[in-house]
């Protein structure tokens, strides 16, 4: 199977790695590049655990072919924290918005994109923004509360 080089930006850093024909972006990020933040959930585009930002916009990495990110910007939950964790991550901790944690990286990226586009979303807008991300632990309320905490300035102010 032919290997092809892919050059792209991952969490602000230039990256180059080889991909195989047909490899999806999720597998490429995890096995090819070593970024374990995006998770494999359903593999069908149904659960959102693999959500990453492609040029700032949420995409399902399990349904995205690795070759299509050539020259583009990919952001994952690995890039959220700097010297300290981000306000969104802090709010998720404060609200116990992660239990098993498997949906969390996808939730964080969906929420990051929402807040970048709409810094003051209302509750309905938060719910719509994370409706493609399935959580089987929390019942969603702590996650919604955490995102609203950031939106309404209760965290990271």
């Amino acid at each position: 199977m032919a290997m092809k080089p892919v050059t792209f930006t991952l969490n602000g850093l230039a990256k180059a790695a080889f991909t195989e024909d047909g490899q999806n972006l999720l597998d490429f990020l995890r096995r090819g590049v070593g970024d374990m933040a995006p998770k494999y959930g359903c593999g069908q585009g149904g659960c959102g655990a693999c959500t990453v930002l492609l040029d700032g916009v949420p995409h399902l990495s399990c349904l995205t072919l690795a070759e299509t990110v050539e020259g583009r910007r990919v952001d994952t939950a690995s890039g959220l924290a700097g010297a300290t964790i981000s306000p969104l991550q802090e709010a998720f901790m404060d609200r116990f918005a992660a239990q098993c944690g498997y949906c969390t990286p996808g939730m964080l990226m969906a929420a990051t994109a929402l807040l970048a586009k709409n810094p003051r979303p209302n509750r309905d807008e938060v719910i719509e923004a994370i409706s493609g991300n399935i959580c089987r632990c929390t019942g969603y309320e702590p996650i919604i509360a955490a995102i609203l905490d950031v939106a309404e300035g209760r965290v990271g102010a």
Binding site: D21, Q44, L60, L63, A110, E128, S131
Partner: protein, 328 residues
């Protein structure tokens, strides 16, 4: 998933030429095709990425809009002119799928998407005439909540899952196609086929033809339009029934009415009988009721989806009552 190669087409003619080759399939956002490849339903050898061109939304000389086939669903829904002049289209797109999927999926891919019939998507354990012609249909007598009540056949009762296409049908949209014989145009309402004995033939697309764009006619003066979707949960679910309508009313009569349904047939269902019965007639609840009865006269509901018949009629009646009220 079978091994395949990936390459990009940079122009529509290049993509059309590639589409004619055996084992080649066009790739838009991949939200349907890649999923079906993983499930073993689709087995292309080569994917041709067609997202690198036809990305514009442009005004047509006649005052309509030409939407490129590779425009992403979220970009379509957010476009200022679409929101202003064709709000039902924006609404329909936003009721579909999830934010991630709308960001990825293209307009042409939305038109070309396959049914969400669970038996179709289950090669390991289910028979499907669409997947393997002549093999049988396990949806018949199975779980039919999401299946057709109009236009089905003994071979297939699958539904077309698109919200966007229902709005496009109600807007009288035209598909722009490009093939070996050059470009041609086809009304969206005539593009998807009913299953009959050949449910594996889903559209009128010819070998080597691609969808380059969708044209919307100019909005009618004083047109009112809306889209309503009934589903099992408030977000991220396919329609049980959806309805889109555009009307203009003059002196209490329908000057124009276009009505389309989703979730009930193998194609976005343009309600031509009801439209013909209502056009130029009084815009009253009684007239609407009679026209909808006529439209659904040949409905064949199944055990699992008999609720769709009253649901579709009531949803359409409520939507039209709302629009008539807005014109008063």
């Amino acid at each position: 998933m079978n091994p395949f190669t990936y390459r990009r087409a940079t122009t529509a003619p290049e993509a059309a030429a590639a589409a004619a080759l055996p084992g080649h399939r066009l790739l838009g956002g991949g939200t349907n095709l890649v999923d079906l490849m993983r499930k073993g339903v689709e087995h292309p050898e080569t994917l041709i990425d067609v997202t690198g061109f036809s990305q514009q939304i442009e005004l047509t000389p006649g005052g309509g809009l030409l939407i490129g086939g590779a425009v992403r669903n979220s970009a379509l829904a957010a476009h200022p002119q679409v929101r202003r002049d064709y709000p039902l289209l924006s609404r329909a797109v936003l009721t579909g799928a999830s934010a991630q999927i709308r960001n990825m999926a293209t307009v042409a891919g939305n038109v070309m998407q396959r049914t969400r019939c669970t038996y179709f998507a289950d090669p390991a354990a289910s028979r499907c005439n669409k997947r393997v012609p002549g093999s049988g249909c396990d949806a018949q007598g199975g779980f039919t909540r999401y299946h057709a009540i109009l236009g089905g056949s003994s071979a297939c009762i699958a539904t077309h899952p698109s919200d966007m296409c229902v709005a496009l049908a109600a807007l009288d949209a035209t598909l722009h196609l490009l093939g070996p014989d050059g470009p041609r145009a086809l009304p969206l309402s005539e593009f998807h086929r009913l299953p009959g004995d050949t449910p594996h033939l889903e559209t009128e697309l010819r070998p080597g033809e691609i969808i380059t764009g969708v044209e919307l006619p100019p909005p009618l003066p004083a047109m009112r339009s809306a889209y309503r979707k009934v589903r099992d949960r408030a977000s991220y679910a396919f329609a049980l029934v959806s309805v889109g309508a555009c009307i203009t009313v003059e002196n209490g009569h329908f000057a124009e009415i276009r009505l389309a349904f989703g979730g009930i047939a193998h194609r976005p269902w343009r309600a031509t009988r009801a439209e013909a019965a209502l056009r130029s007639g009084p815009a009253t609840p009684e007239a609407v009721e009679a026209a909808l009865k006529l439209e659904f006269a040949e409905a064949r509901p199944l055990d699992g989806n008999a609720f769709k018949l009253p649901l579709a009629r009531r949803s359409a009646a409520a939507l039209l009552a709302q629009l008539i009220g807005e014109t008063a």
